[in-house]
């Protein structure tokens, strides 16, 4: 007898790779990454260069001059290569008594009329080391941090200089004595086959962050591009009564397995395309050796497991619902499970050995994604954790496929109303 599950798998595969969803899935990751890089570059290159005139009311009499000099230097630097990359800071002198609220209001009006961008009040005792007063910065652009930060840094630098001078301490000496010492993060020294020693290399963030994250994302996008499609496919078959025709030719279990295999094949194809692109880019930028064959083997193993798990979940939802509207409510917990690795990868990258990272990477639906990341971050987790993760995930995947088979068998031919979780549990327990 021909393997009917395989016939279904081939049909599902052909349908999926010809669908718009596949094309979107294929482009999703490069587009997503491209957009992220593009946005970064855009925000870096497209800074706000509007002039920032501001009034300085310097009651100390010591800071206006240095601020103006620093602003000149800033403005010259910002026009370095002929194209301005930063706004010009244009301080001007102002004067009023500390208690003169009318004067403050008048300056505020000028800000509102866009004649000036802000105004600053520097208290008279600002040079006194025991002062408790602060420099006040007034503006109606609270979100713009560049100018107040610059004023704070520039004023403090000058205040410290003047305080050191008053105390007859040479600032240059202080700077030299307070020079910070950097901690250089290195790998380990390696013993070579001939008995030689290979020097330790500096820890490279591309190897410890970008590659593990990239692998996790390949896995996630590959699963997301195919598994949820199973829900649409099952609902279409139910609504169009195709399932009745199919079940007249094939057992529900064969049909479900065919769908899962087809979906897995699509995920593997997507992952292979992504991995090829990744390897190409890694080689181009000199990181070819950072992508290990064993890591890729883990990626494809975990990919198969996650497609089985999430495919079963989405098939179950499709079989239990009668239309896409019904399915929306049930989709939420499934999507949360699928998004869990995306929501937690940051803590794994920062502390792969923390109890939190270990616990998350042993949570079966997250294991394929997070354990893969931990494996890709040198030196990788202990073998027992990998083995435990694989065992738990395998048991979960088998359990999901088993339960999905039972629910699929009954739900597929059910019309009219969506099944409740209680009904589904009853179907799973039925002989």
């Amino acid at each position: 007898m021909k393997n009917k599950a395989l016939i279904v798998a081939v049909s599902e595969f052909t349908t999926l790779v010809q669908s718009k969803a596949f094309l979107i899935g294929l482009l999703m990751m490069p587009v997503f990454m491209g957009v992220a890089m593009g946005v970064q570059r855009f925000t870096r290159d497209s800074t706000d260069i509007k002039d920032r005139p501001f009034v300085v009311v310097d009651r100390s009499g010591a800071l206006l001059g240095p601020l103006q000099a620093a602003a000149d230097a800033w403005n010259r630097a910002s026009e370095g290569a002929g194209t301005r990359t930063q706004p010009r800071f244009l301080p001007s002198a102002g004067s009023f008594e500390a208690g003169d609220e009318q004067a403050r209001a008048a300056l505020s009006d000028r800000v509102k009329r866009d004649e000036i961008y802000a105004f600053v009040e520097i208290p008279a005792d600002v040079l006194n080391p025991d002062t408790t007063s602060s420099i006040s910065y007034y503006s109606n652009h609270p979100g713009y941090r560049v100018l107040p930060s610059w004023i704070e840094a520039t004023a403090n630098r000058e205040i410290l200089n003047q305080r050191f001078r008053s105390a007859s301490i040479d600032r240059a000496v202080v700077n030299r004595l307070t020079q910070r010492v950097e901690v250089s993060q290195l790998g380990l020294i390696a013993r070579e086959a001939g008995g030689g020693i290979r020097a330790a290399t500096k820890v490279d963030r591309v190897r410890t962050t970008a590659i593990p994250l990239g692998m996790m994302m390949i896995l996630l996008f590959s699963v997301m591009s195919s598994a949820p499609q199973l829900l649409n496919s099952v609902i279409e078959e139910k609504m169009s009564r195709i399932s009745e025709v199919l079940i007249g030719s094939i057992t529900p279990y064969e049909l479900m397995m065919g769908k899962l295999l087809g979906s897995a094949a699509v995920s593997v194809l997507l992952a292979m395309i992504y991995v090829s692109g990744g390897v190409f880019m890694a080689n181009r930028y000199g990181y070819g050796d950072a992508i290990r064959a064993t890591d890729l083997a883990w990626l494809f193993l975990f990919l198969s497991m996650s497609v089985m798990m999430f495919g079963s979940i989405f098939i179950t939802i499709g079989a239990a619902c009668t239309d896409l509207k019904d399915a929306q409510g049930m989709m939420t917990p499934a999507m949360l499970l699928l998004m869990l690795p995306w929501l937690t990868w940051f803590s794994i990258i920062n502390a792969p050995e923390s109890p939190m990272s270990i616990a998350l990477s042993l949570f079966p639906t997250a294991t394929p994604f997070l354990m893969l990341m931990r494996i890709a971050i040198p030196p990788g987790p202990p073998v027992w954790q990998i083995a435990l993760g694989v065992v738990l995930t395998t048991i979960t995947a088998i359990g999901f496929v088993y339960a999905a088979g039972k629910i699929f068998r009954t739900g597929l031919l059910m019309q009219g109303k969506a099944a409740t979780f209680g009904e589904m549990w009853k179907w799973v327990r039925a002989d």
């Binding site: 016939i7 009564r241 195709i242 025709v245 007249g248 030719s249 031919l413």
Partner: protein
């Protein structure tokens, strides 16, 4: 394998949904090579019966044997099923869909391709193989459904309302195809609400009502149960002349023609009628299948 003379045998089959019987103690034997019509009002249990035969539903009680096997799953590849109206992937091209369904019945592409070409040509769909299903008209879609059911050369073909919604030309083409596949040895079971089609095409007719079998036999056998109790007549005055006439039990008015059941002597009724209006046609006959159907089903539909 010995020839099986009964394609489908149901013995005491019952099925309930939420405690309400959909099929109740149904016993039926469908001879191999016959065309068997299932009739009955909506919700009477026709589709449930067809689904149990297809193993889509399991009976609560009783036994079902299909093509000699009590395990209806075993006969799966030899049985084809056409659900009412739908059952096709909208975005799939016709040939791909027909190949897919055929392959699921265990046929090879070498067997399927000539059969697909033959049936598409027979149904006037030459060159439609690459068209997507959602670009086809309803009639064309129904013909594709039919081809999907027959390309695997089934021994038993089960059709749920195959003629509903078809224009006369497409209905004629589908009727010829059903007869052709029967000539090739396939047993055909179909459900229909079109009594004229059932009368003309079926070797035997089975009526189910409230889950129970109420009719089963050839048209002649069924009509014989009712005798010559129907008068078909056409008069100058039409149906209104029958109002208040003595002995008239029921009138089925077709506009130009009325079917009347009377108590007492039909000759006396004729004399009475002729005294009132010009009688153009007066025929004492057996009731039509439509009339029998209505007589059984009307009390509940009122």
């Amino acid at each position: 394998m010995p020839a099986v003379t009964t394609a489908i045998r149901l013995s005491g089959v019952s099925k309930k949904f939420n405690g309400i019987p959909a099929v109740d103690g149904l016993t039926l034997a469908i001879p191999t090579g016959s065309i068997y019509g299932f009739i009955g009002p909506n919700g009477s249990g026709k589709t449930t019966t067809l689904r149990m035969i297809m193993h889509l539903l399991l009976p609560d009680e009783g036994q079902i044997e299909v093509l000699g096997s009590a395990q209806t799953v075993a006969a799966r590849d030899r049985v084809s099923y056409l659900p009412e109206e739908r059952g096709l992937y909208k975005k799939m091209a016709v040939r791909r869909l027909l190949r897919y369904y055929g392959r699921l019945k265990g046929r090879s592409l070498a067997e399927l391709d000539p059969a697909i070409d033959e049936w598409l040509a027979r149904l006037g769909m030459d060159g439609w193989g690459e068209r997507k299903i959602d670009t086809l008209s309803k009639g064309m879609t129904q013909k594709v459904q039919f081809v999907a059911a027959v390309v695997s050369k089934p021994d038993l073909l089960i059709l749920d309302e195959p003629f509903s919604g078809l224009d006369p030309v497409n209905a004629e083409a589908l009727k010829d195809s059903v007869l052709e596949i029967r000539r090739r040895g396939t047993t055909v079971v179909f459900s229909t609400h079109d009594m004229a089609t059932a009368e003309k095409m079926c070797d035997r007719i089975f009526m189910i009502f409230r889950g129970r079998k109420v009719l089963d036999g050839t048209l002649q056998e069924i009509q014989a149960q009712y005798g010559f109790d129907t008068i078909r007549l056409r008069t100058a005055a039409g149906a209104p002349i029958l109002d208040g006439m003595a002995g008239v039990e029921s009138v089925n008015d077709y506009g130009q023609l009325q079917e009347v059941r009377v108590s007492g002597d039909p000759q006396q009724f004729l004399q009475q009628l002729a005294a009132r209006t010009a009688v153009h046609h007066f025929e004492i006959t057996r009731p039509s299948l439509h009339d029998i159907f209505v007589r059984i089903a009307r009390p509940t539909e009122a």
